[in-house]
Amino acid sequence: MTMDSTKTGPNRRQILAGISATALGAALMSGATLAFAQSTGTLRVACNGSASDSLDPHRTQGQVTDIVRFSNLFDGLCEYAPDGTVQNVLAESFTPNADATEWTVRLVPGVTTHAGRPYEAEDLIASVRRILDPEHPTRGASLIAFVDAEGLEAVDAQTVLFRLKRAYGPFRDVWANRYLRMVPRDFDPSAPDGTGPFKVVSFTPGRESVFDRFDGYFREPALVERVVISNIADATAAINALRSGQIDMTYLVPISEAAIIEADPSMQLVNNPSMLSIPIYMRTDVAPFDDPRVREAIRLIANREQMVEIALSGYGVVGNDMQGRNVTPCGDTPVPQRTQDIERARALLAEAGQSDLDVEIATTAGTPGMVECAQILAEQARAAGISIRANVMDEATYLANYGNWSFGVDFLSDTYLPVVARSLVPGGTFNNTHWNDAEFNALFERATASSDEAERCEIIHQMRTIEHERGGNIVWGFANTLHAVGANVQGVVPYVVNSAFNNLRVVSKS
């Protein structure tokens, strides 16, 4: 018996030898030792994005990677300071006419784009028209729907006259919104030119983008030379990467990890007191929630402290069924805090003939706390003898019926008047409650028309009081947005509306 008795192809020893040779190659690689830490000139940032990532500040799906990217590549007319106040950026001044139906915007002189072109009135007009283009819907369009795109006029190279479709008082504030970034007149998203503190070096959707400092920036240039933004979908992976020094900042921090990060000397937790509300909405135009007594009963069932404590692990504040964590500069609206009152809820339900109410609440993991608050409410409802069942769906299924769920959870992140425009008046794309309150609508009209801040604040307090009394939302709390950065990262401060990630210009590493 000898080995050469078979003559078909390579023998077993040859096959085995081949396999062993490949194994050796793999073994060699595992010997490499690494230094994970990067140079101090390069800031490595991790965010969660998706395959739909783009460099277009207007035609975006609004995922975090996109927002971080375009906030650092482009400037707005204004921006939010950490405390939520509005500061001018590209705009030097805003001047209204007597009834706030025309605004004259003067641009800061001497601003140039990454390609070296001056940024002028025609560029601003092209940007606003691009945002309002009905053929290509953008997220910013609804924010400036009051602008007449055809009526824009370049008064001189630095000045634009905005003619509005109706009077709009908080005109300047709206331009701080992230979806209203300005681009040059012949903007091409595949080779994006902008005025921002960073310029594009490379970009791979869903994976990574590399930006270099724009040395010709018209304000203080960025402190780091380069920014690398990586997509990391899993928050635990991002924290591990941060812990080992592979990255310097991560946008995504699960609430459950926050305490661990606070205790770890190699990392800092950035605890943003955000405007992020996670309202539980009830459709005010269909049964059973068209009955205000049923809505009030559900609002009284909610134990808000418990929801903030469990759903947000305490990283947030209790809400009082009014939008706006704060309404800078107007101060608090004087309405007593609604608290859990099961007896009163039972009585209201009995009065409405809904003592054995059985409803389903629609939710999805859109932001931390969305699923949990529905589950907690379902639990709390038992005490009142009614049944609320949490229907947790994947995002696509939830979105497929978005706006039609009679009972569900949503999230909104903006300052007060934009939140109202989008979610509390007819025509708002987030108006899940289908609320249409004539008095409230009229007040909103007046608030947006008024350019007198004191008057506007007075109206806003009235609006919030109505929301608290008879609105369709349970605004049980406002979530903090949590980020984590390495101990060696400086210049990262908590923001009320924005995020330090959107202003990487002032961040540095040691």
Binding site: I15, A32, T33, P137, S230, I232, L399, T429
Partner: protein, 334 residues
């Protein structure tokens, strides 16, 4: 003598029959692939949710949604959509992703090459080690070494994949040692081969999982072979243990191992989403999971079909290797 004859020692009866077998397999695979493509298409149609809504997001107006639906040809009957898609596919055109507006072929190709590197490297580690461990523990069955290795492998197999992955992260990059980076942050500007240390942990995790299963299979078949009549006969006629092992036992034990290796290879391709997530590894599994989540139908279809093709191809390759290892290839018919 059929029961006691060494099946690997038989005389070959020609390669024509082998070619016939492979040809039949290829034809069947092709038919199955067409059926698969229909199933995949039907399944993606049945997914709840509206792709136009996913593209436009929460603040879309019904008019915008309708316009996008007709633009994406989502209004056409399903069979028309299928034929259009299948027709393009035959010309090598996977289409353009609705979500990312990029050619689907490009998206999938990049992910395949990443996954391929990890799977091949993990295989290069796990297969030889499993073979050595399997043979060693079979020869020393029930000894202390065998029991220890068996215990470890069962423990590894019992752990959910992501727990093993996280344990390795804690052990090798974050807490105890700092040898490998915890996250596979691959730069898309470079080839994976240029950044191999970054994929060390995914490779290691995958290799350990493959080993925990594969080595036990080798061990079990080896024990069977070592207890067979022909090995017993070889022993009785005084053949040295080493020769028995290498000439008779191992070649015969390899056949089922090759089949299993093929299956592990194919599964490793699409079934390691959890590991990819833990390491933020841009592989095929994560791409599929993300595409399902965002209803990026074209990408879902392309990746599912790719995985199906890999399964079919692996089956054919393992069949080929099996034929090579058992020259007659036909058991008791020679």
């Amino acid at each position: 003598m059929t029961g006691t004859a060494d099946p690997a020692r038989r005389v070959p009866s020609g390669t024509r029959k082998n070619l016939g077998i492979i040809g039949t397999r290829l034809a069947i695979s092709l038919v199955l692939l067409i059926v698969m493509s229909m199933l995949v298409f039907a399944a993606t149609q049945a997914l709840p949710g509206d792709i136009a809504l996913m593209v436009l997001g929460r603040d879309a107006t019904p008019a915008q949604v309708d316009r996008l639906r007709s633009l994406l040809n989502l209004d056409a009957p399903v069979w028309q959509q299928y034929l259009l898609w299948a027709g393009n596919l035959l010309q090598g055109d996977f289409g353009t992703s609705f979500i990312s507006q990029q050619p689907v072929g490009d998206i999938v190709a990049a992910r395949i090459s990443n996954t391929l590197v990890v799977v091949i490297l993990s295989f290069a580690l796990s297969i030889p080690i499993s073979l050595l461990l399997g043979v060693f523990t079979a020869v020393h069955a029930d000894g202390l070494g065998d029991r220890i290795v068996l215990l470890v492998s069962i423990a590894l197999n019992a752990l959910p994949e992501f727990v093993l992955a996280l344990l390795l992260v804690l052990l090798l990059s974050v807490k105890v040692f700092h040898i490998f980076p915890p996250v596979a942050l691959l730069s898309p500007e470079q080839s994976v081969w240029a950044q191999l240390p970054r994929v060390a942990l995914p490779v290691l995790t995958l290799a350990l999982l493959q080993m925990s299963y594969f080595y036990r299979l080798v061990r079990a078949t080896m024990i069977d072979v070592l207890n067979s009549d022909y090995v017993e006969f070889a022993r009785l006629k005084g053949m040295p243990q080493r020769v028995i092992l290498w000439r008779h036992a191992i070649p015969n034990a390899l056949v089922p191992a090759v089949q299993a290796a093929g299956t592990i290879f194919a599964i490793s391709f699409g079934g390691v989403v959890v590991i990819e997530y833990v390491f933020a590894f841009p592989g095929l599994g994560t791409a599929l999971a993300e595409a399902v989540g965002s209803r990026d139908i074209q990408v879902v279809q392309a990746i599912t079909l790719t995985i199906a093709v890999i399964f079919f191809a692996t089956n054919i390759v393992t069949d080929l290797i099996t034929l090579m290892l058992t020259p007659p290839g036909r058991g008791g018919q020679a």
